[in-house]
């Protein structure tokens, strides 16, 4: 067995996995986003993201600004009306959307990287791998909302608790996905070829196999962004998520659901944002999935 070459051989002679250089992969993603479903999904998500970033500067009221006008009807300077303490509902929906996006954009990447690494570890090391697979099994067997409630027992409900809950719910999904995808790659010829060439196991894992499962993780990422929105919503709706005076989509739905009779827009506006976000992410992930399958 010769030592691994200290300088990497030119890429072309290396048995590169799946055969797709990064450029081709990028164009495949672009093609996926150009399909009707992909374009629609991307548009929806981007519109909501841009809207939540830009609108706060254009709206006349801030999300915490109170006025004597409580539960005002929609119209005039309050397009959606006001809440119990006279805060502008549109401003709060926008702020809530932004908080949801922020929370999910912190939690899901942590879960994706952590889950993928643990999945990788589980393939490399039998012992640690088996341990984490069992942990993932149990976590996956428990309803997401129950995990969230468990987190709020250990710490005060709030933004941090929601982020930790989403990570706990989502990381096992990535861990499972990474592990099964990695195991699927092991019997392939390019892995055997790399082994024959004498590359160390770690190099084969990280340089050859890992790039090949990135696609699958990417597709998962879009799906889990949608799930994360649902976890925040569920926790906040039962009262253990985002706490007043902060606004999130879930906490607004909770507050608004008591006023459905007189002020239906109070709850329905955040509901529409949740549905649009989830559908947007789903369409994106479907389009990306098609692109991954097409190789």
């Amino acid at each position: 067995m010769t030592a691994a070459p200290t300088t990497a051989p030119p890429a072309a002679t290396e048995p590169v996995a799946g055969g797709l250089p990064p450029g081709r992969r990028r164009s495949r993603y672009l093609a996926a986003l150009a399909t009707p479903g992909g374009a629609a999904g991307l548009t929806i998500v981007l519109l909501i993201v841009v809207g939540s970033l830009v609108l706060p500067y254009l709206l006349p009221y801030g999300p915490y600004e109170q006025s004597p006008d409580s539960l005002a009807a929609p119209g005039g300077s309050h397009p959606l009306g006001t809440d119990e303490v006279g805060r502008d509902l549109l401003a709060r929906v926008v702020a809530g959307t932004r908080l949801d996006l922020l929370i999910t954009l912190i939690a899901v990447p942590i879960a994706a990287v952590g889950g993928t690494l643990l999945g990788l570890l589980s393939v490399v090391n039998g012992w640690i791998g088996a341990f984490f697979q069992r942990v993932f099994d149990v976590l996956l067997g428990v309803p997401a909302i129950i995990l969230g409630v468990a987190v709020t027992i250990a710490m005060q409900p709030g933004t941090e608790a929601v982020i930790i809950a989403i990570v706990l719910v989502t990381m096992p999904v990535f861990g499972r996905q990474a592990r099964s995808s990695l195991l699927g790659q092991l019997p392939l010829d390019y892995v055997a070829a790399a082994e024959v060439l004498g590359y160390p196991k770690r190099r084969i894992m990280t340089r050859h196999i890992l790039p090949n499962i990135v696609d699958v993780i990417f597709v998962r990422f879009a799906v889990e962004m949608a799930h994360a929105i649902m976890v925040e919503g569920g926790l906040s709706v039962v009262g253990l998520g985002i706490q007043s005076p902060d606004a999130s989509l879930g906490s607004m739905i909770k507050a608004g659901s008591g006023n459905l009779l007189d002020r239906p827009l109070y709850a329905l506006a955040p509901v529409v944002v949740v549905v649009l976000l989830v559908i947007g992410y789903t369409m994106l992930s479907n389009a990306l999935n098609q692109a991954v399958l097409r190789k």
Partner: protein, 317 residues
């Protein structure tokens, strides 16, 4: 089969034991003195001492856990700190509401999931297939807290045909009780229906390509008979397991449905326990919900193994 069942049961017991340790530790994971966490930062020394005494916080964590699990195993669930009632009595009082909801939601997802799955797999109409597919995608985007609000708005506010929430006894006032179950059951079942339908449809289509279908048709069995007697029973496996997982998760879903539809049940009791920092009650309910999820899933897998001998053979190997 016996060996398989014993093996799986042992696994479930070990998992439950580990879960009980984790659930018990949650209180100690919280930064700071648990007694302060429970009573609030401005509690006086007397209250803190009472809480420490009541929870046995003055002893080692191991002793506390041993006592707690020992009591649980002998059927003593402890007493609620805030409500002053035995936890067992509280559960007995709230269980029926949640159970009704779970049974109703299970019925909805089973019936609609199976029907949609069979139609999806057997219809020749492209239009019907696409309609079901689009509907399925929409349902997946509707978590219970979203569909619940929409259902209340449509059926209780706009059309005023169903009550917006609450509960009524199924024995004394069956009509009212059932009417109050409809919307929450649908809200809880919606996201599961497309998953079950798609699993079933995929299995049915896969089975149609098998040679035994051709054999049955060649021997003169009608298409209808082949579908119902041969293909369908062989295709139920994955859908049953998924259904079991979903039923196990319904207790979790009940938390959200009970909040939205203002129903009293185990879910609302758990939320109340966490909000009032009633740890003993919260821990028992949490353990109960997780145990149910794990056990129902186990039952699903055992049913699957009973139906399909290949699974238990695989496990033995």
């Amino acid at each position: 089969m016996t060996r398989y069942v014993i093996w799986r049961l042992l696994g479930a017991v070990v998992v439950l034991w580990v879960v009980s340790i984790v659930v018990f530790s949650l209180l100690h994971l919280a930064p700071g003195d648990p007694a302060v966490v429970i009573a609030g930062a401005d509690a006086d020394a007397e209250t803190l001492a009472a809480i420490r005494e009541q929870l046995g916080l003055d002893r080692s964590v191991f002793a506390q856990y041993a006592e707690w699990i020992g009591q649980l195993l002998t059927g003593d669930l402890g007493t609620s700190y805030t409500l002053g009632q035995p936890i067992g009595a509280l559960i007995a009082q709230r269980l029926p509401g949640t159970l009704q909801l779970t049974v109703a939601a299970t019925l909805v997802m089973t019936v609609f999931g199976l029907v949609a799955g069979i139609v999806l797999a057997t219809t020749r109409s492209r239009l019907v297939r696409q309609a079901i597919d689009q509907l399925a995608t929409l349902c997946l985007a509707l978590p219970p807290f979203v569909s619940g609000v929409v259902l209340i708005f449509l059926f209780a506010v706009v059309w005023r045909v169903l009550p917006s929430g609450g509960e009524a006894s199924l024995i004394d006032t069956p009509a009212s009780g059932i009417r109050r179950l409809i919307l929450p059951a649908i809200a809880m079942a919606l996201p599961a229906i497309p998953v079950i339908a798609r699993l079933l449809a995929t299995e049915i289509r896969r089975n149609y390509d098998q040679e035994y279908v051709l054999t049955a048709l060649a021997k003169g069995a009608s298409r209808r008979r082949v579908t119902w007697r041969h293909v369908l029973p062989n295709s139920l496996g994955p859908a049953i397991v998924e259904l079991a997982i979903r039923v196990g998760h319904l207790l979790g879903g009940a938390i959200v449905a009970e909040a939205i539809f203002a129903r009293a049940g185990l879910g609302s009791l758990l939320v109340q326990a966490v909000q009032t920092r009633d740890y003993r009650l919260a821990q028992v309910l949490l353990l109960f919900a997780i145990a149910v999820a794990i056990l129902v899933q186990l039952v699903g897998e055992l049913v699957m193994a009973a139906v399909d001998p290949r699974i238990r053979l695989e496990a033995k190997a």
